[in-house]
Amino acid sequence: MQTYTLSVSPDFSPEHLSGWFIFNTWLQKSLATPFHLELYDEFELQRRDIQLDKIDLIYANPYDAAMLVREKGFQAVARPASTSDEAVIAVLNSSACLSVDDLKEGVRVATTHDPDVHMMGMIMLEPADLDRSNVIVTPVHSYVIVAKHLLNGQADIGFFLKDAFHDLSDLIRSQMRVLVESQIDVIHHTLLAGPNVQHLIPQLLDNLLQMQDDIKGKAVLESMQMTGWLKMEQEDTEFMIDLIDTLIE
């Protein structure tokens, strides 16, 4: 029997990722189909494998979801219930900045390669007349490293996925404060099925929607810090892609 590949956007902390191993076990049992969970430390490596058609099922960030649907023929299956992707701009507690308006040209930004969080972070700088032409951006590989850049004085502000910011250790997070937080509400990660596994979508969707009503399924959801799944209609996907398009300069 063919083994398919499941992957997850590399923007989650190790605590979240352990839940995806549990989900993969549940997935294989529920579909009676072998899946291999392939995790990536870097967005670039995952995108390379997407281009090589090595990934069949993926929990993608909204920015990559647009590319997967339009360019690679993926179909959105479901999204997590009662959650959305939000970004946080954080500074050190000792920073003199109290709002975005206090930031000046030349501000040093630590960010990850997470495209939607970076995009949301840059949008939140616009009210201070800041854009990529007048800020110094340092992309790093994880949100922990973004925090380290702040703590070491290598950056003035840091862009975080809100969930990732709150996943930082108390010791690290207590040295920072939130300057501004997005309240977009309508952008979220999505589970997408590639062309090779589209025949599995009806059963997969049924199983996902029933997870919260089943004791074992509920435990899997809790390990992923989720409460359930919502079906993604085609129009839901198109709407989110349109939204992302409005935000890309």
């Binding site: 308006d101 616009e126 501004v180 309240q183 509400d185 309508v186 398009d245």
Partner: protein
Amino acid sequence: MFITYHDGSSREITVIDQEVPYPDGKLIVSRTDTTGVITHANQAFIEMSGYSLDELIGINHNILRHPDMPAAAFKDLWVTIQSGKKWNGYVKNLRKDGAFYWVKATVIPNIRNGELMGYTSVRRKPSRSKVDACTALYAQMKMDVPS
């Protein structure tokens, strides 16, 4: 000025010179059909416009049009999006209570299976320098071509 709702009723709005600051981090999202009639509005839209969801759905987006906005700005918007392109601009919007708020607006056509189904508009917080520049520009445009 008079505003007419989708049920045919109308009310007069007294325009007042009071700006409501755009909140940090929020996005106003709405969708319209191809004629500009609102089909979707998010919570931020409801809060900033002062209208309820029931009042917004079914009414033309031009309910937000502030008398200080030059007609040429909206003409440019429609010419751009009807040609299938994305439009960006700074807009002074009229609230239900007669006050105003400035936005940086982006509008894109919603194409489904090659067919235009409507438009999505996203508004975000503009910088004060851009607002000041547009205030002067739009006043000049209104003087040059009174609407």
